[in-house]
Subunit: 276 residues, 2 copies
């Protein structure tokens, strides 16, 4: 692992690191915020998964998360959204290939060798940060925005017991029924839709739910709301009687101005679960 | 004036607007955050001046200012750092020409026709935003980062009575004695150093001071601290017995991770002056 940058931030350190990833077979870059409390011992960690076209950097500079994480004594990890590099498959579209990993393990060519973001985010990177930094792997929570909200919800429900709480900002809730999903799941997982189900938050909510609290915010003026389908998640969560707070925030859109506006709420929500 | 974008943000609106500027003779773009309170009547305003290479956008997305401004009911204006466009003079260096206006009215060719950022920030833009938005021109305060900290301090001292309070993050404090200053003041104002004095915060502090409170934060690990010369401002402020809080923040550097870390403090500082 190599240090790209470390900047003091809200009393802690905002770092950027690269490492050779076994899961994705390429070098991966991630951001990590460690609060001041990490000097005295392991702190809980919140994963922040980003959306289409983002790298590790977008949320790190635009979500306004570090201040609240510092207040709560929580570390933040900002993974990249896909494998990257010259030897890694890509597509001209913004919503497939590099920058659009959709947090799955691809089973189809040409994506199969590198696009293993599920394993990377759920297994390899947690093990790495817990070994290299003062992070308590027993206290993980997860959040994300848009495609990253999809990743957060599906990982939380798919990796039972790993995350104490899950939240999302304007997540893709029902990709198997959306243009933000069908194309990518076909490309990465193949045409058999049965293999898609465990990468669809609404379907997983119906099937297994989440063993902990759920918080989801979506803006009523989100320009992509028809692709996100929050109603599908709401219906499933209500049918299951899932412990959940699903909010539609009046007037907000899909931007980081929306994300930053509710970051304090999300951080307090996760802190309650992580310090319980 | 044209609206480029408006995003709901912390209950208010983060907008981006363009207009044909008389002062600079070109189209100018600025960001404006209006808190929810502006629906009920004019609110006080804090000017945020950005540093070298920045546009109106950097601080708007990275400084984490809107949340605190919303809490205090204060509008924020994020002007650009120079005139822009094909007909506007420029230089290959990052620290001269477009993106590096230094908040002066240029008197020298080729800069003279457009580089009038002093007038733009102090006169034209305040008049525009007060006429187009619910902003109370009687309650202005000013802050900035790096070159923008220089702009904030020199405007505050040079435009007596216009601003109730001034703060700065890692400002260029003594440009007449720095490589971040001598080159630009020569280019924009000519070789007569007497004309530079009213664009040097340390010299102005010695000469006139500021009729109100001053807050300045600089990181002890600022990679540009030898160019900023906070000691010159400190010496002048102490000699004058200026009401001022000049802080060196341990371990912080020149980045927006530093700016965002202390934004809450700066906003509270200005709120106290604006609501006095």
């Amino acid at each position: 692992m190599e240090t790209v940058a470390e900047n003091k931030c809200f009393g802690g350190v905002q770092g950027v690191y690269t490492h050779a990833s076994k899961a994705t077979g390429c070098d991966m870059t991630f951001g990590l915020f460690l609060p001041e409390e990490a000097r005295d011992g392991p702190v809980p960690v919140l994963w922040y998964l980003s959306g289409l076209t983002c790298t590790h950097e977008n949320a790190m500079v635009k979500a306004g998360a570090q201040g609240w994480a510092a207040e709560q004594g929580i570390a933040l990890v900002f993974p990249d959204t896909s494998p990257r590099g010259e030897g890694v498959a890509d597509d001209d579209a913004y919503d497939l290939g590099q920058g659009a990993g959709f947090y799955v393990n691809a089973t189809q060519d040409p994506w199969k060798p590198h696009f293993r973001m599920w394993d990377y985010v759920a297994e390899e990177l947690p093990a790495l940060v817990a070994s290299e930094f003062a992070i308590d792997a027993e206290r993980q929570a997860i959040t994300g925005h848009s495609m990253g909200g999809h990743g957060a919800l599906t990982l939380a429900m798919g990796r039972r017991g790993q995350y104490r709480s899950v939240s999302a900002f304007s997540p893709i809730c029902h990709p198997t029924a959306s243009d933000w999903g069908r194309k990518q799941l076909t490309a990465y997982l193949g045409p058999d839709e049965a293999s898609w189900a465990r990468h669809d938050a609404a379907l997983m909510m119906r099937e297994t739910g989440f063993n902990g609290p759920v918080l989801v915010d979506t803006g009523t003026q989100d320009q992509f709301i028809d692709l996100l389908k929050p109603e599908a998640l709401a219906e499933a969560a209500n049918a299951r009687r899932q412990e959940a707070t699903l909010r539609l925030q009046k007037g907000y859109d899909h931007s980081y101005f929306f994300v930053s506006s509710f970051m304090e709420d999300h951080m307090a929500f996760h802190a309650e679960a992580l310090y319980a």
